[in-house]
Amino acid sequence: MTERLLTVDSLKVSFDTRAGENQAVRGVSFHIDEGETLGIVGESGSGKSVTAKALLGLISPPGKVIGGEILYHGESLTGLSEKQWRSIRGNRIAMVFQDPMTALNPVKKIGAQMTEVIARHRGLKKAEALKEAIRMLSEVGINEPERRVEQYPHEFSGGMRQRVMIAMALSCQPELLLADEPTTAIDVTIQAQILDLLKELKDKSRMSVVLITHDLGVVAQVCTRVIVMYGGMVMEEGLVDDIFFRPGHPYTQGLLRSLPKRDGGSRERLVPIEGSPPDLINPPPGCPFIERCPHAFGKCVERPPLFELGNGQRAMCWLLDKEAKTGE
């Protein structure tokens, strides 16, 4: 039996804006098991990145966690002081961001940036930390690491910078790695290399990975379990095969159907999801997908619970309720 690493329960995060309260995350619950790769899929504004930031205690004003609980090894992370957060962030939960150029200090050598992190988190002496940095760089497939540590970020290509970010994140041997769109800014041939690297590194350790992305292809290739977010809520969760072959929620079904066919009928007309994502300042009270859903009916103005579909698959849709009366 695998151990539960992290549990998120009814997490709510809002941002105060001039136009009103933007309810970015509206009651999100999920869990991460030890050693699994969980994909969080969603489009911009679905709340996927904000959820990840909350897991690291990185929500800062105008944003605020207004409800819910995050349990890490069964202990609550909500209400930790900044000092306590620092002992978790980087050490036990590490993060890789979308754009490695803005996450690295442009005027500091790669080696110096890495040793700083390693020395702080693992209490190593500078020389040992540098050795460790070099070892990590070669681990993520960077050639001649002894020479590369003396270089600045601009001397690395985009893919190489992302490898440096991964090496930095892994240098503290975290239990959980959060990767927020790690390959979105990168060319597809390099993306494939980075994804392979993530898979390979994960296989070597018991580390859990959360991969946040809008790309269903990336999810299919890398993840074991998926949660699908929309309008600040989890619409569906399940094993990757179930999500792709037996999607239970109309939104998941719509997303998969809107992709171009891969073989033969590649010129067939696409089936889009009509309309646009909801405004989270005045979100619909019930299902966030109600305005775009082809199956919406009376009951959908109430927020549906997650209905069990078996095999750990759950979807938030009234269509799955045997008692709700579906459309007249």
């Binding site: 060319d187 290739q221 997303l255 992709l259 590649s266 999801i273 009509e274």
Partner: protein, 309 residues
């Protein structure tokens, strides 16, 4: 490539665009970036020609050369038989309405201080079409055509979502009845659930107005869907050109193979058969230049061209 097709609308011949990165004290270029380095291809009337490649491959530079946003270093671009490279700005003006562009980012390509009516009628002013009362009706008809409403006429860009803004950009491009539209990454800034809407609309408009598209993108699965033929760019050159299904089913150039096999397939059971791009295949410039055709590409089967590798 064969010139026998009678209905060629755009003919690019040995196009080169070099950027100067540095100059020495005598004003001579010290560093030259060869963004596009001798590219030839043709686009037929009414088809969609896809141009794919990774960042820095020169695909967007080609798009910008075609609309003469850049003056090119060498080569010719013929549009409907006219050599655009020889024309001055005044002579170009009629072509500027026949060739329009849709850019990637609908957030930065629309002037935030203009309302929808002003945005869409700006090109009409420049080219002197639809004057007076006709104007509003023409703009409203265009809005309707791209799935927006007459009520939107006096709204400003910030009031619209990304997908709606891209619709405004499309209406603006169509406002002067173009024949050829350069679409530079028109859907990559849009949400996944909205991309299919915009692609379907581009296809409908193509049928209705008989448009010809150059579709520049890095999303390889969408390019296959929308394009009749596709050209693959690598390091400023075209390495392969073929009908889209042929290209995806039978890629020949090592770079094309590496690129296509790297697409993450949205199917968890798909077995990845990735062809690694071990090292960048070096161009043999001499071979490239004395290739079978003037494009430097060899025709290996009807309509399938590949660079020597």
């Amino acid at each position: 490539m064969s010139n026998t097709e009678s209905n060629i609308l755009v003919d690019v011949r040995n196009l080169k665009k070099y950027f100067t990165k540095g100059k020495n004290v005598w004003g001579r270029s010290t560093q030259v970036l060869k963004a596009v380095d001798g590219v030839s291809f043709q686009i037929r009337q009414g088809e969609t020609f896809g141009l794919v490649g990774e960042s820095g491959s020169g695909k967007s530079t080609i798009g910008r050369c075609l609309i003469r946003l850049y003056d090119y270093t060498d080569g010719e671009v013929y549009f409907d038989g006219h050599d655009l490279s020889k024309l001055n700005e005044k002579q170009l003006k009629p072509f500027r309405s026949r060739i329009q562009t849709i850019f990637q980012d609908p957030y930065s390509s629309l002037n935030p201080g203009m309302n929808v009516l002003e945005l869409i009628s700006e090109p009409m002013n420049i080219h002197g079409v639809y004057k007076g009362d006709e104007r509003i009706d023409a703009v409203a008809a265009l809005l309707d055509r791209v799935g927006l409403k007459r009520d939107h006429l006096y709204r400003y860009p910030h009031e619209f979502s990304g997908g709606q803004r891209q619709r405004i950009s499309i209406a603006r491009a169509l406002s002067v009845n173009p024949e050829f539209v350069v679409c530079d990454e028109p859907i990559s800034a849009l949400d996944v659930s909205v991309q299919a809407q915009v692609v379907n609309m581009l296809e409908d408009l193509q049928k209705e107005f008989g448009l010809t598209y150059l579709f520049i993108a890095h999303d390889l699965s969408m390019v296959r869907h929308i394009s009749d033929r596709i050209g693959v760019m690598y390091g400023g050159r075209l390495v392969e050109v073929a009908d889209s299904d042929e290209l995806y089913e039978n890629p020949l150039h090592p770079y094309t193979r590496a690129l296509l096999s790297a697409i993450p397939v949205p199917d968890p059971r798909a077995i990845s058969r990735r062809v690694p791009l071990e090292k960048a295949p070096a161009f043999n410039a001499a071979e490239y230049d004395k290739g079978a055709g003037d494009s430097g590409l060899y025709e290996v089967s009807p309509g399938h061209f590949v660079a020597k590798y």
